[in-house]
Amino acid sequence: MTSLNIYPEFKHTDPATQTRKDFVTDQDVRWCPGCGDYSILAQVQRVMPTLGIPRENYVFVSGIGCSSRFPYYMETYGIHSIHGRAPAVATGIKAMRPDLSVWVITGDGDALSIGGNHFMHVLRRNVDLKLLLFNNQIYGLTKGQYSPTSPVGTKAKSTPMGSIDYPIDPVSLALGANATFVARSLDVHAGHLQRVLKRAADHKGTAFVEIYQNCNIFNDGAFDALTDKETKSDTVIEIEHGKPMRFGKNLEKGIALGEGMRPKIVDVASYGEDKLLVHDEQSEVCGLLVSRLQAPHFPTPIGVFHAVSRPSYDQLLVEQLDRAKTQKRTRVQDLLNDGQWTVK
């Protein structure tokens, strides 16, 4: 990186030989039995060895919260930083070391309450890192206060009469902040989650994945309607690029646009499949529109809302560094000498 190049060079681990086990640490996992975090950890550990990246090149950075204990359980490099600030720490890492695969793990409180500003800025800067937000709609670690994603009326420790703050929808917010990759999945939906994680890993730029996660101690069942076998085909819609938006047990229902571009649910048979909304990941407006499909009026979309390519912050930075190399005066002595005179 500098002319002296004091930075060591390595013979890297062969990623092809890596297995899930290589990503498991010797630390006891300290989440409550039944916590949704376990499943997410398992899926991440499954996806890691498939990405062709040597283990030592992964860095997991987190803030504070139950979810933020995640790095301790990943046999990679990791920083368990302070509450809300992981995106900033990760930005510093990536700015220095574009060669690393940097993953930010955060919770709904960590990312959207105290850390809301860094969240939004890392997205708009499009720093090349993966940002996994474990949304359990509660503060788990501090034992059950409502969070910025808790629905209005949530009775939690700090809101005995019910919360009165209208929640943030992380996907809409991310799109509003010009994120280049925005997706959503569910802790227990192992296959879907793995697919989304892979797509995120492949994205060059900030890949934001909201993962609904059950906190079975302080907010048990928050996503039951979305995971329950009975209800889920009506409450969840899997979106896919280029496909018309359909859901229901037999995909008999669809989403179409009504007046003022308000989305509406239609019966596919009578309305006609060709008039349904076709999901377009690359259209910002489509992503925004789909993000506004919210319970109880609409099924909850999961999948990739938006994915476009825009040069990442670190990439642009490296380009500037490269361009600057053509400048003369690369020794500090030259700068020191500026405007000097000699006393004899």
Binding site: E75, Y77, H80, A88, V89, G92, I93, H118, L321
Partner: protein, 609 residues
């Protein structure tokens, strides 16, 4: 007419005008030229608040003082010998400082009824006798500037703007300076040929006016100072800090990373370092101070020479991040260019009141090394030393500068990079027995970069087990680690050279200072010593830890006096540590110490039995 040339040894000039009048440019041009002329010098730019005040108002007055001499210069001077006042407001704000009998040069055009009113004069100062006692010279600087650039057909506003160069030319003549440097500077600075030409003409017109007009019967010569041979340049504090960090990067072979959020008076370091991408410097303008320090933490973890720069209110926001950096034991330099507080305070004014915040502004037992720069040129070495300690001890270091040091300038011997000792960096790569919180002889832990095969490990802000770095809630371990972290700071003292004492090595009074008061204390101590008093002066570079010999040094004096631009902060640390009845000499006016203030305080100590 052939005019007389009088030789004098020392002169202090203050240029004062409206914010828009270009006084800072005038001042720094005069500074560079005077440096080239071989004088020793010191400067003090004093700006108004950041927002432009109404034209002609008192709040809008911008000043620049320079003292230059054929002798050694320690301060920009208490009371100027010459005051150049571009308008009535400038006169009103600055006249009280002018030496009795001093030269007063007024831009007569601006001394009109409207400007008197704006400056709050009910009567013209030209007529009320208040200027009696000074050598008054009135010149229609605006009018003559307009004349000089007439042919260029600039619009009036642009033409009037050139008047600071007229004033500069006049003063160049008055002090026998070469115009060469400024001529070149103008040629490079102004891209538009007409503007360039206009400024040049104004400069020369001013010079020739001095030469030919009957206003002045003589001009002055200040012989070069006797300074050690070598290469010199003028340097301001923020510039020197930036160069120091660049030097530290080169000496260590590390890449520089600066995470910063703009704030007066620290922003210039960001601006300066942003220019050196060619040296591999990465500057990141973060969304706030918290992101700034956190990004620097991430960079340090990744192998950068990492910095964050700010001023007091920003340092307040970095407290939690500093605690994290301390727990992670990463090398990091946190720069606080202090300004007058509390809260928003007076952003463009100087102060030394963040020392306690630097020492204690974090939760828990969270000691960090604190180093302070004493002068513009010293900033360079302070930056290098802060980096060296940060890297060697794997510890975040707080570097204190302030608005005065940051913006004032002095001639400075250009260092020879090849003579500066390299900074040794050891990245850990050995897998065998790797422990993230193992210790070397400095109690530093290994710097193991992500990307290193086999050294995967996790660090964080929760208390950690000795050696392994695993989370630990063990009672004895916590006490051990807290004491270890304190000892880590203390360790720095062991590698410090013996403390330098200016003046008497024992005697009646020891004056202990830190930071920007160096020049004033140095000069003040010399002054009273010349009168026969036995006084010593220690200027602390490291405030945490104190040098190991400080306690013994204090014992050699009857009294200890601690002048500070605050209500007494260092003095508290000294009293608590050494149980010595050190007396505080506080000043908290947004202004640096004057030599006379220090002299008076010393005398008071010497007299009070």
């Amino acid at each position: 007419m052939h005019k007389a040339v009088e030789t004098v040894s020392t002169v202090a000039i203050r240029f004062a005008g409206d914010s828009g009048d270009g006084m800072q440019v005038t001042g720094s041009q005069f500074t560079d030229t005077t440096g080239l002329a071989g004088n020793d010098l010191a400067t003090f730019p004093d700006f108004p608040a950041e927002i432009r005040a109404p034209a002609g108002s008192l709040a809008g007055v911008s000043g620049f003082q320079i003292k230059f001499s054929s002798e050694a210069v320690f301060t920009p001077g208490d009371a100027p010998d010459v005051l150049v006042a571009m308008n009535p407001a400038a006169l009103k704000v600055n006249l009280k400082d002018l030496k009795p009998g001093g030269l007063l040069i007024l831009n007569s055009e601006a001394f009109n009824a409207k400007n008197f009113e704006r400056a709050g004069y009910t009567k013209s100062p030209l007529e009320d006798g208040s200027l009696k006692g000074f050598k008054l010279f009135q010149a229609d600087i605006t009018g003559m500037t307009l004349k000089a650039v007439e042919e260029l057909k600039l619009n009036n506003r642009a033409a009037v703007r050139c008047k600071n160069f007229f004033a500069l030319g006049l003063v160049y003549w008055l002090y026998n300076r070469e115009m060469h440097y400024t001529v070149t500077w103008i040629a490079e600075k102004f891209k538009d040929p007409t503007t360039r030409e206009a400024n040049l003409r104004a400069l020369k017109a001013g010079y020739h006016f001095g030469e030919t007009a009957e206003l002045f019967d003589r001009n002055y010569e200040i012989k070069p100072a006797k300074i050690e041979p070598g290469n010199y340049r003028n340097i301001a504090g923020n510039e020197a800090l930036s160069l120091g960090f660049l030097a530290a990067a080169e000496l260590s072979g590390l890449s520089l990373f600066l995470g910063s959020y703009p704030i007066t008076p620290a922003s210039d370091i960001l601006h300066e370092l942003a220019r050196y991408k060619n040296l591999g410097v990465r500057t990141f303008q973060a969304e706030d101070e918290i992101a700034a320090i956190c990004s620097a933490i991430g960079a340090a973890y990744s192998g950068a020479l990492a910095l964050t720069t700010t001023s007091g209110p920003g340092l307040a926001l970095k407290g939690e991040g500093m605690g994290l950096a301390l727990m992670l034991e990463l090398p990091l330099v946190i720069v606080d260019v202090q300004r007058a507080g509390p809260s928003t305070g007076m952003p463009t004014k100087t102060e030394q009141a963040d020392l306690m915040q630097a020492m204690y502004g974090r939760n828990g037992e969270a000691p960090l090394p604190v180093i302070a720069a004493k002068s513009p040129g010293d900033c360079f070495y302070t930056a290098i030393e802060a980096c060296r300690m940060a890297i060697t001890h794997m510890i975040p270091v707080i570097l204190l500068s302030d608005g005065f040091v940051a913006n004032s300038a002095e001639p400075w011997r250009v260092p020879d990079m090849s003579k500066l000792p390299p900074i040794k960096v050891r990245f850990h790569t050995e897998q065998k027995d790797f422990a993230p919180y193992a210790r070397d002889e400095h109690l530093a832990r290994p710097w193991a970069l992500p990307g290193t095969p086999g050294l995967e490990h996790r660090i964080g802000g929760i208390e950690k087990q000795h050696l392994t770095g695993n989370i630990s809630y063990d009672a004895a371990n916590h006490e051990f680690m807290c004491k270890l972290r304190a000892e880590r700071v203390q360790k720095i003292a062991d590698s410090l050279p013996p403390t330098e004492i200016n003046g008497d090595a024992s005697g009646e009074l020891l004056v202990i200072g830190w930071g920007d008061s160096y020049g004033a204390i140095r000069a003040g101590v010399e002054n009273v010593r010349a009168g026969g008093a036995k006084v010593g002066h220690v200027h602390l570079r490291w405030i945490n830890p104190f040098p190991n010999d400080l306690g013994d040094i204090m014992k050699r004096y009857k009294r200890v006096l601690v002048p500070e631009l605050n209500l007494g902060q260092l003095v508290k640390l000294i009293r608590a540590r050494y149980l010595v009845d050190a007396r505080s000499f506080p000043k908290i006016q947004g202004q640096p110490f004057k030599e006379q203030e220090i002299i008076a305080a010393i005398k008071q100590q010497l007299e009070s039995n």
